[in-house]
Symmetry: none
Subunit: 123 residues, 4 copies
Amino acid sequence: MSWEIRTDRPIYLQLIEQMELKICSGVYALGSKLPPVRDLAQEASVNPNTMQKALAKLEEDGLLYTNRTIGRFVTEDVNIVNQVKNKLAKEQVQDFLKKMRKLGFDNNEVLSMLETMLEGVEQ
Amino acid sequence: MSWEIRTDRPIYLQLIEQMELKICSGVYALGSKLPPVRDLAQEASVNPNTMQKALAKLEEDGLLYTNRTIGRFVTEDVNIVNQVKNKLAKEQVQDFLKKMRKLGFDNNEVLSMLETMLEGVEQ
Amino acid sequence: MSWEIRTDRPIYLQLIEQMELKICSGVYALGSKLPPVRDLAQEASVNPNTMQKALAKLEEDGLLYTNRTIGRFVTEDVNIVNQVKNKLAKEQVQDFLKKMRKLGFDNNEVLSMLETMLEGVEQ
Amino acid sequence: MSWEIRTDRPIYLQLIEQMELKICSGVYALGSKLPPVRDLAQEASVNPNTMQKALAKLEEDGLLYTNRTIGRFVTEDVNIVNQVKNKLAKEQVQDFLKKMRKLGFDNNEVLSMLETMLEGVEQ
DNA sequence: GTGGTCTAGACCACC
DNA sequence: GTGGTCTAGACCACA
């Protein structure tokens, strides 16, 4: 998964979301060292200051921590990561339901459709 | 809902998808007249030919029909629209499941989470 | 039926053929008066001299005759017209067979296909 | 057989028809590689985009398939080609009958004329 | 070098 | 003014 930046919302918010996702999905493992800010910024084609702002917010939330002389690391606290995971999951569910409602499906229909599509599918 | 065009996929495909969505979600009602190609193109900030290509494809699929010199109309055939609705819904479900799996949720967890979030929510 | 002129063959030959066809199919009835050469030429978008050349040839074949002061007329001789009709028909058959052979159909297949398509069709 | 383009009908439709004919009559054998779009366009004296449009339609119908960056190929599926062959043959028969009727021949006369002309003719 | 896509701009038929 | 078609010219991804 790469970086996807759009111009219709604050970039640093998008960076936060995608960074959260990368951590929760294991792209950056618990306790692992992150690439330098400059590298991340270049990878995402954004200004280093913007990337810095995003990382600072993630640090605030406890998802990252900085060792000034060595670099930035992903937290080793599973609980924090799980909290974020749940937050992201809830957002996905909300987003999904919103889209399905727009298509005219009510709760029961969404549920039965999901159940149908889960049957017989390997995990 | 407005138009969102990205540069990483053929524009006409995105136009097709968004047009399908607009029709299925009722932005363009069954049997109603569409704005002229040129207007739609300007609205979406694309070349009229590109919009034309997308509309031609939708016409092939029976979602639209053209009354030459008068304009383009949404089909009045509920069946066709429902078919497209189901197709779009399935895509949404697949997409949703893919994202949830990336977050580390298995089928049962997705299902129970959805059920939980549907409880006590007004339709 | 209007005039169709192509640039890949002598125009006057095409005029002859189409004039024969018009007479045989009754566009210009037996014994009827033809429009003036200039009108015919304009109708077919060709030079009057070219039209003149075609009409002269048809006259030679007895399909037309000229009354100098009154104009040009279609012959009243059914036999002559029937001869031309047969000639044109044979050309059509030959042309048809040639095309069918190019598509890979042999005589028997052509015959059976024709018989099939004639069944149940009102004349 | 070369390309014949007329101005009284959409060019891309004529290209489709003639391409179908070329494939059905073996000018382009099953499974063989077609010349590049640009070459075909130049051969037919049309814009590459117009040729592209025609080929795209033939591809939709399964008569061609594209191996991107390598080229376009005729299908290897005999069934599809035979279907098209039959379609073209039916059109020829219809066209033939129409012309013969215009000349004043009824079904039986057409049939007997064809039978007569087929006798004693080498295949 | 291949097919695919997009834009810009033009003309046509029809009502 | 509507959709339809065509041309010219450009750029892209891929191998």
